[in-house]
Amino acid sequence: MLKSMKKTLLYAALVAAVSAPHAFAETTLNALFMAQAAYSEADVRAMTDAFTKANPDIKVNLEFVPYEGLHDKTVLAQGSGSGYDVVLFDVIWPAEYATNNVLVDVTGRVTDEMKKGVLPGAWTTVNYDGKSYGMPWILDTKYLFYNKEILEKAGIKTPPKTWEELSEQAKIIKDKGLLATPIAWSWAQAEAVICDYTTLVSAYGGEFLKDGKPAFGEGGGLDALKYMADSYKSGLTNPNSKEFLEEDVRNVFQNGEAAFALNWTYMYNMANSGKDSKVAGKVGIVPAPGVEGKSEVSAVNGSMGLGITSTSQHQEEAWKYIVHMTSQETQNAYAKLSLPIWASSYEDPAVTAGQEELIAAAKLGLAAMYPRPTTPKYQELSTALQQGIQEALLDQATPEDALKSAAENSGL
């Protein structure tokens, strides 16, 4: 009798133990992020840990891919009907994602508080056709970084305010033998080169599309490519730039092998205070320069947002997670590699301390952010432009012809 009682108790305990986790009705979210620029993988994991600690019934699986794989991975997972609940997306994709029903419309979920608190420029990252397809998360643009020590040795007092000045200063540095090729860019056949090109297009007052048709082959669009080709051919630009992505630029710059570099926010604290940086404490940052008579500064909208996929079975939980990740509290706590989307954060000493130069550059740069074209065919247009730009750099075509064939291949 006693024995069977014991047995029954044991079974009861076992059943309780097995069924206990079900009491929580645990939900698992699959989220896709990138391992490149902006928040580091460690940052994203820490932010997520804080979320799961506050919401023990939700589990979040994180996956990190290089930026180059982010778009295709999202679309492929969608095509196979399974996959992610939350995805990181670039400012250039909402048009395509909305048209192809990859992301759900979250306009109704955005509160007035969010609408008021988040910088107006940040919303352009997630909006298409009057609807919001997510929350902005990474607010980013390309800045001009410079090596203070090298500029000082060259006798240069202030960093360049125009692209013309950048060339002149680079020439001084080259002529004085301080560096053979002073400027580093990310001009690999990838989206990175389009970001640098767009920065220049915005400086020269160019336009990508006019009435939906390519317009980059003339005016500012052409001037921008001419500037790149000249800078490359004159030897002021590091010739390896044409196989560099952002991380290669960072490597070259923080090894002290570049006087100037165009890169995203994240490079500032990594190069200026990173343990592996040889230029720590010598990093200067200003908005990307302008063009006399056309612009004061230039900037590309390189922001990214977090959205819910249309195949997600847990849209409520996914939104909860996104709200946590994009909240002012979370963003202020991790403001070293990516700056917050919230306007009032830029006045918060906790955010600005130790990176005043970056904040000063951001105030000007973020206000001048220029968008890459909004079209569902963006990937095709970008691929065609990448090829055209490289052809012009490699002297396989004149800038005029290169942009002309890019327009023909753009599918627009």
Binding site: G79, N100, Q189, A190
Partner: protein, 312 residues
């Protein structure tokens, strides 16, 4: 030779008595049935669906797409992108496979010699081939790195190069650099197949040719090569088909750049179908690639039969 192979496994009279030929055929089909079902499910059906897709303007997600006839094929085959990619692919396949065959056979001949440490070398041979392609590609990217790559460092130190240069960023060198990386990975397969074949060469024949005064070249050409021909044809077929479908090593190392000089057909298919989300024209392009590979495979198959016939 021919009679020798035939007598290796003579059918025993018992078997012939017990099993009629109809039962043998039925049994063979029954045994193959599970495999056939799986193959139809995972290869046959997607293949048929791809053919259907190729005649539509379907997108990757969403709509099924409308019938557009041969539009996709006409557009694709007449496009400059396709022709450039076809040329790049052919160039890659011809050069890399030729190099792999030559280096593979030479390595096999070397490893067939008696020398101290041969076993270690034979074991090491398999290493590059056993590495995942993505790892191999990443390693070679580091070697070719324009800022701190080992190749630049080695060439400048021995004085062949004045200063570091970009290998993967110049159209002139990018494809060659890729071919070298691909060869390094794949020549061991050829070497292994050749080495196995070399060990089947009877000692008495090589000894006899030595006695008859045949030089090293004559011995290779008339005594050893006939034994190698069949297995090497198999290696050639495998390698050519693989090389024609090349994707991963290029995607990791250059993503088709600079200025699309290394964009092969498979990369074009990937971009069309997945980056641009045009499942329809992506499918048509993929089928064209499949067709080319099939023609190559059939052609080689005929060659293999002929070499096997003449070697016997």
């Amino acid at each position: 030779m021919a009679s020798a192979t035939r007598t290796v496994l003579p059918p025993t009279s018992d078997e012939e008595d017990v099993m009629s030929s109809t039962w043998m055929t039925t049994r063979a089909w029954l045994l193959m049935l599970p495999l056939l079902i799986i193959m139809t499910a995972v290869i046959g059906w997607p293949m048929i669906d791809t053919v259907r897709l190729s005649f539509t303007d379907a997108k990757l997600v969403g709509t099924g797409g409308a019938f557009v006839g041969f539009d996709n094929y006409v557009k694709m085959l007449s496009s400059n992108n396709f022709q450039r990619a076809l040329f790049a692919t052919t160039w890659f396949a011809v050069i890399s496979v030729t190099a792999e065959m030559v280096i593979g056979v030479l390595a096999a001949l070397l490893l067939n010699q008696q020398f101290y440490g041969r076993a270690v070398l034979r074991a090491l041979l398999i290493l590059p081939w056993a590495l995942p392609t993505v790892v191999n590609a990443t390693l070679w990217r580091l070697i070719y790195n324009p800022e701190y790559g080992a190749l630049n460092s080695a060439l400048t130190q021995i004085g062949l190069l004045d200063s570091y240069r970009s290998w993967l960023g110049e159209p002139g060198t990018a494809m060659t650099a890729l071919i070298v990386a691909d060869c390094w990975k794949n020549f061991p397969l050829v070497a292994l197949i050749a080495l196995a074949a070399l060990q089947a060469v009877p000692r008495d024949i090589t000894a006899a040719s030595l006695v008859d005064g045949a030089g090293p070249f004559a011995r290779f050409r008339f005594v050893i090569l006939p034994y190698l021909a069949g297995p090497l044809m198999v290696a050639l077929v495998l390698r050519t088909i693989e090389a024609f479908k090349v994707f991963d090593i290029i995607w990791v190392m250059t993503r088709g750049g600079p200025a699309n000089s290394t964009r092969t057909l498979s990369i074009l298919v990937y971009q069309e179908a997945f980056s641009f989300q045009r499942a329809g024209s992506g499918a048509s392009l993929a089928l064209v690639v499949t067709l080319i590979v099939t023609v190559l495979a059939v052609g080689y198959g005929m060659l293999v039969r002929r070499t096997a016939g003449s070697a016997a």
